[in-house]
């Protein structure tokens, strides 16, 4: 069943939409959440909450061509909210590593409500920035910071050496930082 048919099930309020979604994307969603949480029980809760959120958001949303990205965005947020609730000692090593990498581009803010809006604006800027990058660069960036892949996994996936992946990411972070500053964002 393709994504559009699954979305049709949501739109017609057919509960089998959830089982179809779980069957098609469950393992990939759990993988993303597990990268953040490293806790299978919490991942399952996030997965279930993701389906509930999707059920509530479709309609009005109709993610016919990007259902996985739509669900992935939800589960990333839920998993990140969960990891923030935990003590620092229980945070995923991957997230700590990636946060350190990204702190030169996007430092943590001041715990204000405006940050939520800020993140959306930042997302748009990052989208614009990625649009100016090559396809390879874009994919490497997204695999690293959206899917939370390791350097080795990205190298394996695209046939790059680890050093090449690191180099691509390093350059992208510098270029992103410069781009954000140019757009008036305080890095």
């Amino acid at each position: 069943m393709d994504d559009s048919q699954i979305v049709d099930l949501y739109l017609s309020r057919d509960e089998s939409a959830i089982s179809r979604t779980a069957s098609k994307y469950g393992s990939r969603l759990r993988d993303v959440a597990n990268r953040i949480l490293n806790d299978f029980t919490a991942v399952e809760e996030c997965e279930n909450d993701t389906y509930l959120t999707a059920w509530n958001r479709i309609p009005p949303s109709e993610p016919r061509t990007y259902l996985f990205a739509f669900l992935g965005k939800i589960i990333r947020c839920l998993a990140t909210d969960e990891v923030r609730r935990r003590s620092s000692s229980r945070r995923s090593a991957v997230i700590c590593e990636l946060t350190k990498e990204m702190e030169d581009c996007i430092p943590d803010g001041t715990n204000s409500v405006e940050d939520a809006v800020d993140a959306r604006e930042l997302g748009k800027l990052i989208t614009t920035f990625l649009g100016s990058c090559s396809e390879d660069q874009r994919k490497v960036f997204v695999r690293r910071y959206w899917y939370f892949d390791t350097i080795q996994e990205i190298g394996d996936l695209y046939g790059f050496s680890n050093s090449k992946v690191k180099m691509i990411l390093s350059r992208l972070r510098k270029e992103l930082s410069a781009f954000l500053m140019k757009e008036g964002y305080q890095v």
Partner: protein, 247 residues
Amino acid sequence: MSEYKWIYAVGEIDPEIVEEAAREKADPRAAEWPEYGRQTRKNGRWDSVAMRNIRRAAIIVLAALVTAFGLLMTNEKVRAAVFSIFTKQDKHVVKRDEYGVKINFGDPDKKGSSSSEGIDVQDVTVGYIPEGLAVVELQDVDSPNERTIRLETGEGIKDLFSPFVQIKIGRSDEFEPGFGTSTYDKLVYESVINGMDALLLNVVGTADEKEVRTCAAVFGDEKITVMMFGQSISMEEFLKIAEGIIW
């Protein structure tokens, strides 16, 4: 929001860019065979005869290991080794070699110390059986404190593509360390099944242009240890079966 702001920000990027980078839209073979993906893609030799042979050899090695695992399950020392996974001081050891990694569970000098006296393996139930599979009980008369249950289609296990799940249930205090298996370490991960620590394995490869799936799980508590092997079955179904095993 402020904490991990970058995660939220990256989460807002255009979904089309996210979909573009989805594994399925890259080379799926590279994802399924990470150990070989980098070299072979770089040299443009994915479809060479040599690489096909290496892939087939890897599948054969994997199949042999699955079979060896089943045979090892009959050994008391093997079962004891599995129990050592659940004693927190015994972590599994991963050693990489040319074809993958070897995982040794537990410390060979240590043995399980808990007691499960009075626990009857016959009290363990398999609550979930996928559609199309039926239960075949394989009783080991030499070991009354263990059971082997196989879920299969009824047509037997003809090749790598025949779906089946074999479940070995034993009393935890009879397990001794010393068990080893080989696979790709990145596909072995720690998890929780019914509140119990578990190790899971999920391998997806190809043979004769068809997908080959192998799952394994080891979990239990101080009373019962369960070892499962699945072939040509999805991980979701495999985990449902695991979660349906109760005592």
